[in-house]
C-alpha cells in the first residue's frame, strides 16, 4: 500500500495548490468587498428582491427543464442516426452554442422569431397574418436559453449514448424490446447519473443570465437577481447591498454547484471503439428521428444565417482598418490564447488530483476521499455562481489597493475571469476522461514504473488529445465572447472585440457592428469546429 501511495503522491499537490488558490481568490473577492463597504449609506433591503429571486428561480427551472428535455430527444435522435451527411459538422456546431457571444445570439434569434423576423414575414406573405411580438417576455427568455443550452446538453448526452456498451443493445434486441423499452431499460439508466450534473450547470447558467433577460424579458417583472446587483453597484453605488445580494445568490446556487461538480463520474460507461449502435431503426422511428434533427438544426442554424446576412453587407475594408479594431482584435486573441492555455493546465492538474479520490487502486477507501473530492469539484465550479459584476468590482477594488499600471490589472482581471469561467466546463470534459485513462492504465503504468513525464507522453496525452483540443477551443471562445469584466476595465488602451462591438452599436454604427459580429462569429465557429479536429488528427490509430 505504501509503495503505491508514492506512485501518485506527486499528483496530489499541484491540484491541491490550484484548489487553495481558487478558494483564497474567492475569499479575497468577498473580503475586499466586505472591507470596502461604506457604512454611511445602506439602502433599505428592497422587498422586490424576493420577487426577483422567485422569478429568477422560476425561469431558470423552466429553462433547464426544457433545455434538458430537448437535449435528451436530440441526443437520442443523433445517437441512433449516425450515418447521415454532415452529422459531425452538425454536432460540432451544436456544441458551439455555449460559447457564442450572447448579444450576437439574441440579435440572431430576433431576426428569426422577432416581431419583424423571418417567421412573421413569411406568415404575413403567405397568410397575411403576423404572430406579433410573441417573443418578448418569458417566451423569449426560454427560447434563448433553450437555444444556448439544449445543444450543449445534447452534446454531452450524445457522448453518454455512444458510450453505452454495445452488448447491452444486442441483448435488448434479442429480448425484442420496443423503442420505448430500450430507452427505459438501456439508455435511461446510463443518462441518469450525468443528467443531474448537466441540469445543474444549465440551471446556474440560466440563473445568472443577464443580457438575454434584459433584451428579451420585456418588463421589469422578468428581471433577474443580477439586475438588482447591477442596480446596487451602478446606480446606488451601494457596495454593502451588492455584497448582500451576491451572498444570497451564492447561497442559493451553492447547492447546485455541488450537484454540477460532476463528482459522480460513472465508471461503467467506457466509450467503446465503435460509435455505431448495432440496432437499425424501424422506418417510422427513423423518420421521427431525422425530423427532430432537421427541426433542431433549422432552429439552431437560422439565427446564425441572420447574423451572416446582416454582417456580409458591412464595409469590411473600413472595419478592419480601424486602429481600435486592430488593437481589440489582437488583445482579444492574445487574452483568449493565454487564458485557454492556463485553463487547460489548471483543469489537468485539478482532474489529476481529483481522480486520486475516486479510484479503487488509489485512495477511494480513505474516509476523507469523498469529502475532498467534493471540495475540489466545488472549487472548480464555484465561479459559475459568482456574478461577473461582483468579480469585476472585486478586481477593481483590488486594483485600487495594490497599485500597478491599469493595463497590467486589466490583463490579470480578464485572464483570471476567463479562466474561472471556463474551468467548470473544462473540468466536466477532462475529469471523466482522465479518470478513465487512470482506471485503465494505472496498474500497467505502476508495474512498468513509468515516470510522471513518461506516463504523460505515452499514455495520457494520446488519449486526452481530443479532449484537450476541445477544452482549449471552449475556453478560447468563452474568453473571446465575454463582455462581463471588460465593462469595468475597458479603455482606449485596452479593449476587446465584444467591447468594441458594443461601442459601435452605441454610436449608430450598426452596419459596422454587424460586420464585427460576423467576424466574431466566424472566429468562434472556426476555432470551435477546426481546432478539436486538428488535435484529433492523428490519434485515431491509438484507439
Amino acid at each position: 500500500m505504501l509503495t503505491q501511495w508514492s506512485r501518485f503522491r506527486s499528483s496530489l499537490f499541484p491540484g491541491a495548490l490550484v484548489s487553495i488558490l481558487l478558494l483564497s481568490f474567492a475569499s479575497l473577492l468577498f473580503f475586499i468587498l466586505f472591507i470596502s463597504q461604506d457604512d454611511a449609506r445602506v439602502t433599505q433591503f428592497d422587498p422586490r428582491v424576493w420577487s426577483l429571486l422567485k422569478f429568477t428561480l422560476y425561469q431558470a427551472f423552466l429553462s433547464t427543464l426544457l433545455s434538458v428535455l430537448v437535449g435528451i430527444i436530440l441526443a437520442w435522435s443523433l445517437a441512433h442516426q449516425s450515418h447521415f451527411k454532415g452529422r459531425s459538422l452538425l454536432v460540432a456546431l451544436f456544441s458551439s452554442s455555449l460559447v457564442l457571444p450572447t448579444l450576437i445570439v439574441v440579435f440572431g434569434l430576433i431576426g428569426i422569431y422577432g416581431r419583424n423576423g423571418w417567421i412573421n414575414q413569411l406568415s404575413l406573405y403567405l397568410f397575411d397574418y403576423s404572430f406579433g411580438s410573441y417573443l418578448y417576455g418569458l417566451v423569449g427568455i426560454l427560447v434563448a436559453h433553450v437555444y444556448l443550452n439544449a445543444s450543449f446538453a445534447s452534446r454531452s448526452l450524445l457522448h453518454i449514448f455512444e458510450s453505452i456498451p454495445k452488448e447491452k443493445y444486442k441483448l435488448a434486441k434479442s429480448l425484442n424490446f420496443t423503442t420505448f423499452q430500450r430507452f427505459l431499460y438501456v439508455e435511461w439508466p446510463a443518462l441518469r447519473p450525468t443528467l443531474l450534473s448537466i441540469a445543474s450547470t444549465i440551471f446556474l447558467l440560466c440563473f445568472t443570465s443577464f443580457a438575454i433577460v434584459l433584451v428579451l424579458g420585456g418588463s421589469p417583472a422578468y428581471n433577474t437577481l443580477e439586475v438588482a446587483i447591477y442596480e446596487a453597484v451602478k446606480l446606488d453605488f451601494d457596495i454593502a447591498m451588492a455584497l448582500k445580494l451576491a451572498l444570497i445568490q451564492l447561497a442559493v446556487t451553492t447547492l447546485l454547484v455541488v450537484f454540477s461538480s460532476n463528482f459522480r463520474t460513472n465508471l461503467t460507461n467506457l466509450k467503446t471503439s465503435s460509435t455505431h449502435i448495432p440496432w437499425s431503426e424501424a422506418k417510422h422511428i427513423k423518420q421521427i428521428q431525422m425530423a427532430i434533427i432537421s427541426l433542431f438544426a433549422l432552429f439552431f442554424i437560422s439565427p446564425l444565417v441572420v447574423i451572416i446576412i446582416d454582417g456580409i453587407g458591412a464595409d469590411f475594408g473600413k472595419v478592419v482598418s480601424e486602429t481600435l479594431f486592430i488593437k481589440s482584435f489582437f488583445t482579444s486573441i492574445i487574452i483568449a490564447t493565454v487564458s485557454s492555455i492556463l485553463t487547460v493546465i489548471f483543469a489537468v492538474l485539478l482532474s489529476d488530483t481529483k481522480r486520486n479520490f475516486t479510484l479503487k487502486n488509489r485512495l477511494e477507501d480513505n474516509k476523507f476521499s469523498k469529502l475532498l473530492n467534493i471540495i475540489v469539484s466545488f472549487l472548480g465550479n464555484l465561479y459559475l455562481a459568482i456574478p461577473s459584476l461582483i468579480m469585476g468590482l472585486g478586481f477593481f477594488l483590488l486594483s485600487q489597493r495594490y497599485e500597478a499600471p491599469l493595463v497590467v490589472w486589466s490583463t490579470i482581471a480578464l485572464l483570471t475571469a476567463n479562466i474561472l469561467m471556463s474551468l467548470p466546463f473544462a473540468l466536466s470534459v477532462l475529469s471523466p476522461a482522465m479518470q478513465k485513462t487512470a482506471q485503465r492504465y494505472d496498474k500497467l503504468i505502476f508495474s512498468l514504473n513509468l515516470s510522471k513525464l513518461q506516463r504523460w507522453v505515452y499514455c495520457e496525452y494520446p488519449y486526452l488529445k481530443s479532449s484537450l483540443g476541445y477544452v482549449f477551443a471552449l475556453s478560447f471562445c468563452f474568453s473571446l465572447g465575454d463582455l462581463g469584466i471588460i465593462a469595468l476595465f475597458g479603455s482606449d488602451d485596452f479593449s476587446t472585440l465584444p467591447w468594441y462591438l458594443y461601442q459601435l452599436m452605441g454610436s449608430y454604427r450598426t452596419s459596422d457592428a454587424a460586420g464585427v459580429a460576423l467576424i466574431l462569429l466566424a472566429i468562434t465557429l472556426s476555432v470551435f469546429i477546426l481546432l478539436p479536429r486538428l488535435f484529433r488528427g492523428t490519434d485515431a490509430k491509438h484507439n
Partner: protein, 334 residues
C-alpha cells in the same frame, strides 16, 4: 507557439507604455466610451486642444457616464482623472454629493441653451432633447403626444431603456413625471401594453428599432441627423410631442484631486469655444452650447425642435430618484 505569444505580449506592453513617455503635461478626461471612439468627438477635441495648449489629452472611456463617475468614486483620491465629462444634469447632483469636484469660475449665463442651468461645479457643453424616433416609410401617422401614444392600437410597440441603467431611460421617467405629475404612475400603466421591451442601454434599443422590431424607440431629436448626414437616409424622424420634450444637458467638471487644475480650467473654457462647438453636432450628434459663425450643419434644419424644454432641478431629481423609480416599477411590472 509559447515564444510567439511571449513576443506578442511584449509588443502590446511596449506599444502601450510608449504612449506614456512624454514630457508634456497630460490632461486625463474620464467619459463614456462612445465619446472617445475614433469617429466620435473625443479624438477631434483632443487634437484641437493639444495644438492650442501644447499638452496631451487622454480620454478614458467607461461603459457609461455614470460608470465613469463610479470609477472615480472607487479610485477616490488616487484617481488619475482631471475632468469628468458626460454626466447629464439629472445625475450631476449625485456627483456633487460626493464632494470630489471643484468649483468652476466660468460665467455660464450667456450659454445658448433653451433653459437656464447653473451649477457651482458642472459646466454644460452640449444638449439635446429626448424623443421617440420612428421610420416615416413605415409609420405614416406617428403619435404626436403622450395621449396619442397611449391611444395607439394594441400592436403598436415602442422600445425604451431601463431608467436604472440608462440615461435616456431615466430621462423618459422624468419627462412623463413632468407632464403627468401625480398621474405619472397611471400613465405608465396605460403605456405598458405598448412597450415591446425595456433594454439595459440605448444601444440594444436602437438596434431593435433599426431591425424593425419596434415602431418607435426612445432616443434623441438629434438622432435623425446621423442618418441624414452619414447615411443619406431621410426616413428616420423624431415625433414632436406637443407637451414639450425633456432635455438632456451634458456637463463636465474638474476633480479636486487634479494635479492639472490650470489646464483643466482651460479645457472647461475650451468647451465654450467655436472650435468645440463646431465639432459637437456631427461628432456627438447634439447641439453645442454656443452659437458659431459657421452655424449648425444645414441638415440640422430638418430636425424637429420642441416647443418647450423641460429640465427638472437636479436637487429635486436626486431627492426623489428612488421614489420615482419605485413608482415606475410598480406601474410597469405586470
Amino acid at each position: 507557439m509559447i515564444k510567439t505569444i511571449q513576443l506578442l505580449l511584449l509588443i502590446t506592453f511596449l506599444s502601450i507604455t510608449s504612449i506614456a513617455s512624454d514630457t508634456k503635461p497630460t490632461l486625463t478626461v474620464y467619459t463614456y466610451d462612445s465619446f472617445t471612439a475614433s469617429w466620435s468627438a473625443g479624438p477631434k477635441i483632443k487634437k484641437a486642444f493639444e495644438k492650442l495648449y501644447h499638452c496631451n489629452v487622454k480620454f478614458v472611456g467607461v461603459s457609461s457616464a455614470i460608470g465613469a463617475l463610479r470609477k472615480i468614486q472607487l479610485e477616490g483620491k488616487k484617481t488619475k482623472a482631471d475632468i469628468l465629462l458626460g454626466l447629464d444634469t439629472s445625475i450631476a447632483q449625485t456627483a456633487n454629493k460626493t464632494g470630489l469636484f471643484l468649483k468652476h469660475s466660468l460665467n455660464t449665463s450667456k450659454l445658448d441653451i433653451p433653459v437656464v442651468y447653473t451649477d457651482k461645479n458642472f459646466v454644460p457643453y452640449d444638449y439635446s432633447y429626448f424623443a421617440f424616433v420612428y421610420d416615416s416609410d413605415k409609420l405614416k401617422n406617428p403619435p404626436l403626444s403622450f395621449e396619442a401614444l397611449a391611444a395607439m392600437p394594441e400592436d403598436f410597440k415602442i422600445v425604451i431603456q431601463d431608467p436604472r441603467s440608462s440615461t435616456p431611460g431615466f430621462g423618459l421617467l422624468l419627462w412623463i413625471k413632468e407632464v403627468y405629475k401625480d398621474k405619472a404612475g397611471e400613465y405608465w400603466k396605460r403605456l405598458a401594453p405598448h412597450i415591446l421591451t425595456i433594454t439595459k442601454g440605448w444601444s440594444e434599443s436602437y438596434g431593435l428599432f433599426l431591425r424593425g422590431e419596434a415602431d418607435m424607440v426612445l432616443s434623441y431629436t438629434t438622432s435623425p441627423a446621423y442618418h441624414i448626414i452619414e447615411e443619406q437616409k431621410m426616413n428616420y424622424k423624431s415625433a414632436d410631442f406637443k407637451e414639450g420634450h425633456y432635455g438632456q444637458v451634458e456637463v463636465a467638471a474638474i476633480l479636486k484631486s487634479s494635479k492639472q487644475k490650470v489646464l483643466a480650467k482651460k479645457f472647461l473654457a475650451f468647451m465654450h469655444s467655436e472650435t468645440f462647438a463646431n465639432i459637437i453636432p456631427t461628432a456627438n450628434w447634439a447641439y453645442p452650447v454656443v452659437k458659431t459663425k459657421q452655424g449648425l450643419p444645414k441638415e440640422f434644419g430638418l430636425l424637429t425642435v420642441p416647443s418647450q424644454m423641460f429640465l427638472l432641478d437636479g436637487k429635486i431629481v436626486e431627492a426623489n430618484r428612488k421614489t420615482y423609480i419605485n413608482e415606475w416599477l410598480n406601474a410597469i411590472s405586470r
